[in-house]
Symmetry: D5
Subunit: 146 residues, 10 copies
């Protein structure tokens, strides 16, 4: 049983039970972003969360151990074609140097960690059309000198 | 006088005057992200803000008209090498499909606009090491049917 | 049942019933371009149109829910090889900067949306050989300042 | 004197005289798209139009012969990064197979020529926000059998 | 039944019957290049030629309708590795700019069509070793002005 | 003095003297394709032809030795963007496997040489529009067994 | 039965019979390099050698006709990753321009044929560690003038 | 003074003095391949050979220290376009797996070093046309186990 | 039975027996890095170690001969996407030129062998968070002169 | 004054003074790897080290402020061609998945930081030829759950 198998099981169970990612996340006490990411095989669950996931969706027991294995993260398209994901890529292209400059101004020479990191998505009502809000937070890591 | 020329003038004036992006942004009444982005030639300033920029930094008058021209946005590296920018690219690779799934769950089939869009960066104090917070907000655009 | 499965079912049903895309589109009250695009899995149908599609072509009921799922848009060739599609790519290469300059002249710094967007194709009789006419219309989106 | 030199002269003369592409095109009796495209060195002008262009903008006489030379069309980015041009590329990716299918349905096995071709851009007022309209027309060319 | 299926059937029938492409082409009254190209799924046959092909090789009737469908032309290698095909690619690299210059000199700004096009291959006896002769002919298309 | 320098001199001399490639080729007793190719630095001239070229165009004497140096053939675009050259590339993609199959049928396992090779271009009058004719001839080389 | 099938049969028969490439080559009276290359489907055997191969390894009769078909040579990695093959690629990168310069010095403007070509590999004993010796020989082909 | 500067000086001095690479190599007591490779900046000369080179060609003294610096080896084209170098690349593609298999058969799991390596080129007279002979020899390196 | 088959068997046996790579390595008397690398099919085991591996994990006898075959090393991503492996790639990009300069300073013009090479990984306790230590050692190879 | 300017000044001063990287590093009290990396513009120096560097090499005062600016790290070759750097890239390809597996076994799901990171190079005497030793140490970062 591979991570791909478990992803397929989760998608199928979710569809049959009429669940949402928000709902699944709530039932295991974690955020929807992290929960979906683990379901896609892009992150690993600690044992208790994997157990909760298996119970919430009625998956076979072996799925829990698969959900807690360290994943190998692979994406096939260096430049993503899906418009919804491409817009994020475009933001990195357009605003990447700006984000870098302001991190350097506020912290010094370093980066925002993509490992010690979290991400939230919210729908923000707006009179001219609702907005997507994405909040990222990552630990600042400064370059070593030795 | 090209956008590149004006970028060079701004960087030089900023260094000599010992200014920060936060400070420059404040002096023209805009956000630091947007201000830096215009200074890099990645966005266009409305005429009054271009005027304010030219005054704040003591640039030649022609620079104002250049700052308000529509830019052609070019980045040379499909996969950025700078570690600070690469981490953002990696986040798109790892969390892109998750962001897409949650936008679909919350809104329907569509995207977060990267044009009707804004972005803020904050330093968040944290006992185990301060964190970088990035907040993006873009208008939701749903696919047309016709 | 995946989007690929439904595409195959539609192509097969269309062939057996001797239908055209124009005909299928008319039977569900939508345009041929949008109808074909949904059939290829590149767009999502609202529930009522998906129902109409399933009825018009005698597809199994599950196909309706698949037709209304948000698609992930993927194309494998950064530069398309098929001559009919390549000519469109070439037009973007040759006339892209011109289209950009005229949008800026007519509207300001912004883009034509590819989401709030529609497209029509017509055969135009011409004495020296009939012509293909492609009409695109997309909402203008101006860049935000913040 | 190269095509690049003439492009630079035209851009500079246009800026100093406060002209628009619409205005320049009208003064030589051609469309703005074609006029801009020749100015960018992507198309060649017949001798009389090149003369008119040189007069309208006060360019040196040699520029006329350069404007009428056959250009070599080069674009450096297989996938364009500028958001305004990328949206056109995305449209080819998403709707390319659909356009191909409908050309085949309406005409037979063949293509829309990108040489015997013209293109127009209009601003269409709309209560929810004005729209960009792009109209393309190209001769249908059917594949030979021999 | 796909174009790939029909290609496989043709190759197998040709081998078992000990036929040549010259022979098959003659039996349907077309050229070997065009016949092979249709057999590979790179061109579409008019209905009568598809019928003749099916008869000549004893293929199932459905193959005729597949042979007359408009193909999607795909090649996977931007730079071909097979030495026999690479030499053609190299000729385009080395002599492409020359062919372009001479077309411009003889015709004006335009191209040789690859659609309204035909191609023949002959073996030319030569005392120092026989030669391959390739003759291409395509309609000249001049660029539009509008 | 490099090959690029000599190419520039030739283009300039040709323009000032109002010559054509046909005319230059005739004056040195060679074909226009080969002559243009040497002028572009893609082939080397034997000493006597280089002398004739230098005389015909009034180039400095050193140019003759440069014209007879062995060139390094470089093209920057794996897939050419210029439409006139791209059509040739497309022909290799679409008809390459067919040309290969027919060379194998007529000769055996081998290739058409691109070195012991010549190429001619003619304008062929045609009532529905004149045609470009390209004739290539290369020595057949069969694979060695050892 | 494809070339891939025959390659697999040969590898399996070789393993079971405990043969070496040297031994197989000797039994059909050819060199090990050429024999291995045909076994991999990268070269074609004349009928008698294909018969000898089939006998030597106890392959089914159809394999002989497959071994003598003209192959399509494909390699998937433009830059090979296997270290043993990469070293050869590196040699082309580092010494390619040198080999070219010396061929030009010794022969004139032309190439070493990779078709009328042979290659041998030997183990050369050496006190500081044995060495691999690779000897290539290909016919010189000079560029045509016409 | 860079390696590029010294390469240019060497090429110019060689041309003016009418020397050959064979001759230069002989005058410093090394092989032509290695000598040319150092002249191109692809290898470093020991101090005495660099001195001999400087004397033989009348270069400024500083050139000697540049010739003995460790070079950074860069080639810009992953797939070389020059036909003479491409043929070598093609040989790696076609015969690479064969060379690997025979090294494994003769030595075990390992490679031919491209560092402890030498290469010679000879013209071999042949009645059907002279041949280029390339001899490479590199130390066998077996993989470590630890 | 291929290297991929044996890798799958090893992963499955390891999971069922609850073993670690450290443990497996110890049981065959080799390092964990080398042992894992052979298990992944990236290195070949000498016969006795392959036998020990087969015994330690209860694999079928044929697996031993497969483990000792010379592997073809393939990686599909020129730039790895997995964050754990990407960081190593980034280190090569950032510190590669530095490592090269210091090897040249300490040894002369040459390289660190990746064949006569070993690698160890250790966990180093640290009060601010434990550290990963990677130690590589490879034989220095100096460039030949000939 | 850019980072490139300062790199050039440092290389020139180092050559004229006959210094080594070891020596320069010692004089500013840092490691040779880090010192060289800052000199190449790949890392930033704290103010005191930049001052020490400027003094040690007699650079102009402005160089100190440049040395302490946050760099943008760029490398142009996704796959490095220089053999000394390529070997490091090859090690990542061959041993990357192994290093990842052992980090997961020793620590859990996470990475070795390339920011909170140091690197040392030593020459290790060995009777069969001296060896290059590279030691890397980076902080382990475990993936967040939220």
């Amino acid at each position: 049983m591979t991570k791909e198998d478990v992803t397929a099981m989760i998608l199928s169970a979710k569809k049959q039970a009429g669940l949402t990612w928000e709902g699944i996340a709530e039932s295991i006490g974690m955020s929807p972003v992290w929960t979906h990411s683990c379901a896609m095989g892009m992150n690993a669950m600690p044992a208790d969360k994997a157990e909760a996931m298996v119970k919430a969706l009625g998956l076979p027991q072996e799925a829990a151990s698969v959900l807690s294995e360290s994943p190998t993260k692979v994406w096939a398209q260096a430049v993503p074609t899906d418009p919804c994901i491409y817009r994020l890529y475009e933001i990195v292209g357009v605003y990447g140097p700006t984000i870098k400059a302001l991190i350097h101004e506020k912290f010094g020479d370093g980066i925002m960690s993509a490992i010690d990191f979290d991400l939230h998505i919210t729908r923000v009502p707006h009179e001219k059309g609702d907005r997507v809000k994405i909040e990222m937070s990552g630990k600042y890591l400064g370059y070593n000198a030795w």
